[in-house]
């Protein structure tokens, strides 16, 4: 990188310009990535944080796509699941988005109904007439342990507030006893208790498709169950598409810059070849230069976005983690290098004979 490093210093204005563009793109991609993850968490963390690995949906027809709003499972179904070989725990879970009121404040919440003794609620299931609130829900309603609240008009008491921050469809979670949940969450009931899904904790040996056929449910892994939340897919797809476009634009910008830059130094390349520089040496030099610019600018952009994301975490649903910072940064560098490589490839076609021409 003898020439490349000195070119970076010599043409610092031009390289500062492209670096600034890459910094901004990297910051935008990283922030969008953190926002996407944060929104996804706000959309489905109540499901993904469950101590279970699969959810069994009770859909009207076997080939219906799993969907929380239309799924319904009966006592008979969750009891059948608890006898399936390889299933350690099968717990009914009622899910309904409704309204909670306290001290004159009404907020939208997701009420999750669990049986007494269920392992699904953090720190243990609530008892009859009681609820467990997440911190976010308690703050929204302005209540604490021992206070009263009403869910869809049903008066209940807050037994405790937990630090966990589970949400579903951007609403805070309220854990309630499944029998209480029946009064505002059960749909189309035939008299017996129902729930929305069965949360399964398996040991990996369970024959899930066979059990599904026998029980009349549709079982999906927890990660796939996210698409059962209708808002998640549309939201996630929109933001992911934006990120993909930004990454593609970044590659084009870097490619365009290095195309112009390489055309501008064709004369130098011809001279270097005439002096005895191999094509491999020149490609390595130019690609190393592009890598330095990309890694430096992407690192700065990612750091800026990570810092901004961390600072805004209390007011925006952003999730700063290696997956939302390092992964998109690595992708940007790789895609940028591909763009640069396509531009730099013209070095192979430069004729050293051109060095004999006066310039």
């Amino acid at each position: 990188m003898f020439v490349a490093l000195r070119e970076l210093r010599y043409a610092r204005g031009r390289f500062a310009l492209i670096s600034a563009v890459v910094v901004l793109v990297a910051a935008l991609v990283t922030f969008l990535s953190a926002l996407t993850a944060g929104l996804a968490r706000a959309s489905v963390s109540a499901l993904t944080d469950l101590p279970a690995d699969h959810l069994a949906f009770g859909m009207a027809a076997h080939d219906d796509k799993p969907d929380l709003t239309s799924s319904r499972v009966t006592r008979d179904q969750w009891e059948q699941w608890s006898w399936v070989s390889g299933v350690r725990h099968a717990e009914p879970l009622g899910v309904v988005t409704t309204r909670a009121s306290a001290h004159g404040t009404t907020v939208a919440v997701t009420a999750l109904g669990v049986r007494a003794g269920s392992m699904l609620a953090p720190g243990g299931a609530p008892t009859s007439g009681h609820v467990v609130l997440t911190q976010r829900g308690a703050m929204a309603l302005g209540v604490a342990g021992g206070d009263g609240l009403a869910i869809d008009g049903v008066a209940l008491t807050v037994s405790r507030v937990v630090d966990d921050d589970q949400q579903l469809a951007h609403t805070p979670v309220v854990w309630v006893w499944l029998d209480d949940w029946q009064t505002f969450g059960a749909r189309d009931g035939d008299g017996g208790p129902v729930a929305t899904v069965v949360a399964l904790d398996t040991d990996g040996s369970a024959m899930l498709p066979a059990a599904d056929a026998r029980v009349g449910t549709t079982t999906v892994p927890i990660a796939d169950a996210r698409s059962a939340v209708s808002s998640f897919t549309a939201e996630n797809l929109s933001l992911t598409t934006m990120q993909a476009f930004l990454v593609a634009i970044s590659a084009l910008i870097v490619g365009a810059f290095f195309t112009v830059w390489t055309i501008g130094r064709q004369g130098d390349v011809a001279v270097l070849k005439a002096l005895g520089a191999s094509t491999r040496y020149l490609l390595r030099d130019a690609l190393g230069q592009a890598a330095l610019v990309l890694v430096g600018a992407v690192a700065v952009g990612t750091a800026l976005a990570a810092a901004a994301g961390s600072a805004l975490a209390d007011v925006m649903p952003v999730l700063v983690s290696p997956a939302t910072t390092v992964a998109p940064a690595a992708l940007l560098v790789v895609v940028g290098l591909v763009g640069a490589a396509a531009a730099i490839a013209r070095i192979t076609r430069t004729d050293p004979h051109a060095a004999l021409a006066a310039r």
Partner: protein, 229 residues
């Protein structure tokens, strides 16, 4: 080491016809001497130099350094590049310096191209800069040097690594007579000192008082025999 151009011919396609730029040229330049190649524009001077430097493959004939044939019509680009790097110094018509490098770095570059640390040739590079009278300008970039200074840097760059052969393409074309004469004198003395067989192309015979021999080329053929002065 002597430079031998043996029956070199270079034919270009020219529309539907062909153009013979170099036509059976045989020339011998002894080590440590400078031979000037004179001729009108389009006579084939630069084509002959391009073939001698391995920048263009000859249609037939070969180039030998001493007894060793180094360039033929079948020599690969990679092999020709290696020959240039290890055994040939080239001074171009324009100095062709790299804008981002200082005078010293222009010379150190040769070591880096050869896979060595640039600093490993720093002493030699400073000696060469001193020899061309530019040791004081070692850390200046081309933009801060005059045309004559740039050409002298280019000469120093061509001589680093003590090449067997020095090929020089119209080094005085952008200089006035006096400065041109000084540049040719510098080249011939350095070539003699370093033992490089030097082939120098020029259109201006008045600056060539210090060369060892002159040869005239017309229509791709040598018009006069090699005549060592």
């Amino acid at each position: 080491m002597d430079l031998h151009l043996n029956d070199l011919t270079l034919v270009y396609p020219d529309g539907d016809a062909v153009l013979t730029a170099v036509d059976g040229v045989t020339l011998h330049v002894p080590a440590g001497t400078t031979t000037a190649l004179l001729g009108p524009s389009g006579a084939g001077k630069s084509s002959l130099l391009a073939v001698a430097a391995g920048l263009t493959r000859p249609t037939s004939g070969n180039v030998a350094f001493g007894e060793q044939v180094v360039l033929t019509s079948s020599t690969s680009r990679a092999d020709a590049t290696r020959v240039r790097l290890e055994r040939v110094g080239i001074v171009f018509q324009a100095p062709q310096l790299i804008a981002s490098l200082t005078a010293l770095e222009q010379i150190e570059l040769h070591a880096h191209l050869g896979g060595r640390r640039p600093a490993s040739v720093r002493d030699e590079a400073m000696q060469l800069l001193d020899a061309v009278g530019l040791a004081e300008q070692a850390h200046r970039r081309p933009a801060h040097l005059s045309g004559g200074q740039r050409q002298r840097i280019a000469i120093a760059r061509a001589l680093v690594g003590r090449p067997d052969v020095l090929l020089v393409d119209e080094p005085t074309s952008a200089l006035d007579h006096d400065r041109g004469t000084l540049v040719v004198e510098l080249l011939t003395s350095l070539a003699h000192e370093l033992g490089a067989a030097t082939l120098l192309i020029s259109h201006d015979a008045s600056t060539l008082g210090s060369v060892d021999a002159t040869v005239r080329i017309v229509d791709g053929r040598l018009a006069e025999a090699d005549s060592l002065v």
